[in-house]
């Protein structure tokens, strides 16, 4: 309840900021020493929020469906892609973490590459993956792969920290019970990794959304909100409010995914302490 209020307050604050800037900002923008330090406040660059809302209600094209339906449908499509990418990424991350925890050699050999993997720019990755579409998987699944590629990283790194978090005495106790590796993993390491897992999953959720939207933009995959952003932005010349409707949809999608991921932890974390975990 309280949380919802905060979210609403945040939205209201943003709205006031936007419209407030439009009110006081220079329509031509503020230029200091030849560098634009503040953006233009004119209607072409920053349409009024009510123009955007009103645009949501009007048809996309003459005789077409209202924009809000198109945007919501696109968001649902991207949500599906994000979910698939998130699940794949989380599983891969989990497996990698377990493997790295089990074998020191794997950790030494693999961890640098896991980190390196995130320095590869998406624009380079996307066309490569896009080529798989239609041959070994449907085109939308390639975008899921991109989302998974971003999502696996926080889980792998965070979970590794978590699996390594039990104290030496805990591990030795398990050994004194003659518990094998598997039993130690299930009874000791997994439970103590949970506080590390959930922040990592939240990061993974956000990364999966970014991956899905950027992947769609990059590969031009039809149906999602990323594609919608790029299509509407081409019309920004004559219909500047339209592109903001799609961006609004993308922002909403991010919030929904964050909410869904935090729901995951409710049943598992009820009796556990929360710790601040730095995964990066």
């Amino acid at each position: 309840m309280r949380k919802t209020l905060y979210v609403l307050a945040g939205l209201a604050f943003f709205a006031v900021l936007w419209e407030g800037y439009k009110l006081v900002g220079n329509p031509e923008g503020t230029v200091l020493l030849g560098v634009r330090v503040l953006p233009r406040a004119d209607d072409l660059s920053m349409p009024h929020l009510w123009t955007v809302v009103e645009r949501l209600g009007r048809p996309e094209l003459t005789g077409g469906r209202p924009v809000w339906i198109v945007v919501v449908q696109a968001c649902l499509f991207t949500l599906g892609i994000t979910a698939a990418g998130f699940v794949i990424g989380a599983l891969v991350g989990l497996l990698l973490a377990v493997a790295m925890e089990r074998f020191r050699l794997v950790e030494r050999g693999l961890l640098p590459y896991v980190i390196l993997s995130q320095t590869v720019p998406l624009v380079a990755l996307a066309p490569l993956v896009a080529g798989w579409g239609g041959t070994i998987m449907p085109p939308w699944a390639t975008v899921s792969v991109i989302a998974a590629y971003l999502a696996f990283f926080p889980v792998a790194v965070g979970m590794l920290r978590g699996l390594q978090s039990p104290s030496a005495s805990g591990v030795e106790l398990m050994r004194s019970y003659a518990a094998g590796w598997w039993r130690t993993l299930v009874k000791l390491r997994f439970p103590s990794a949970l506080p590390y897992l959930f922040p990592a999953l939240r990061l993974a959720g956000a990364a999966a959304v970014v991956g899905a939207v950027v992947g769609e933009i990059s590969t031009g995959t039809r149906g999602g909100v990323g594609r919608l952003i790029i299509e509407y932005s081409r019309e920004a010349t004559s219909d500047p409010a339209k592109v903001y409707t799609a961006m609004l949809g993308a922002a909403l999608l991010g919030l929904v995914v964050a909410g869904l991921v935090s729901l995951l932890e409710v049943p598992l974390m009820r009796h556990r302490r929360h710790v601040e975990v730095v995964t990066l």
Binding site: L44, V145, Y149, D239
Partner: protein
Amino acid sequence: MRRIRTVTSLAAAAILLVAGCGTADQDSATPAPGGSGGALTPIKLQLQWFYQAQFAGYIAAVDQGFYKEQGLDVQLLEGGVDIVPQTVLAQGKADYAVAWVPKALASREQGAGITDVGQIFGRSGTYQVAWKDSGITKAADLKGKKVGNWGFGNEFELFAGMTKAGLDPGKDVTLVQQQFDMQALLKKEIDAAQAMSYNEYAQLLEAKNPATGKLYTADDFSIIDWKTEGSSMLQDAVWANTEKLNDPAYQQQTVKFLTGTIKGWAFCRDNAEKCRDLVVAKGSKLGKSHQLWQVNEVNKLIWPAAGGIGVIDDANWKQTVDISMTTKNQTGDTVLTKAPDGLAFTNDYINQAITAAKGAGVDVNGTSFQPTTVTLTEGGA
């Protein structure tokens, strides 16, 4: 481009690594079924961008069954921000690709084995648009102005035009990287903006003038057309895989594909509104009047085709290659470092296709083609 390439190979290595670490879940993806049309040969054509009337001829050829007549089941692949058609073709992920000549030649120089087998657009559609009251009407007038350009290899006609007019693009003008919309010109952040006759220029005419409350008209703008400035380069062409062209079966298939393509474009010349409807039905987000404008403008780039649609004109080819080798952009790069070697283009197949199309009663020259006047509506809707 070159930088992206190295990164791509890095990415490839990284992916292999991750894939090697057991992503068993990927097995769940089912391969899309290929051609289901019995004896038809499945063909993939990679387009440069999303479905829009720029590709109306191919869309029409699929829809009207012109490819089927030739025994081909053509699947059109949409482009995207990071999809490079000639690379997709060179990697064998498509059988043919539509690409601009200078960019494709640059890819060739970097090792892509591709050949121009049909120069569908005989003319360039690139403009530099300015406000009428700015007095800019020719390349020389750009001196001292803020000039928008798209970069990424889309800017060479502009640079060649300015160089030809005696300007040093690096010194005499202020170059501004332009977005893919025309807001910068409307806000007067730049004095002249790059625009395609069939797309961005139309978007200007679909925008409302806040001063009058009406749409801008052609009278508000002046156009520098690189065709009249003599610095135009060849654009949309059909590219084929050079190595496969040694295979008689692929040669025959290429002739058939081009025959269907010619029929598609001839159909759009004679049925502009029907072609607009086909493009709109493909799910383009651009409006109807915008698409009709685009069909009409694209038709102007093809027709009339004195030597027959798709035949590569030696003089135009030479001009494109010369500009590609000599014109420097702001970073001092040219498109090409040396003349294209090997089989960069051939008229063998398009000529056979033209003969076949003529035999089927298709007008391949469009001598009597007259463009129509398209009225744009707000937002192109």
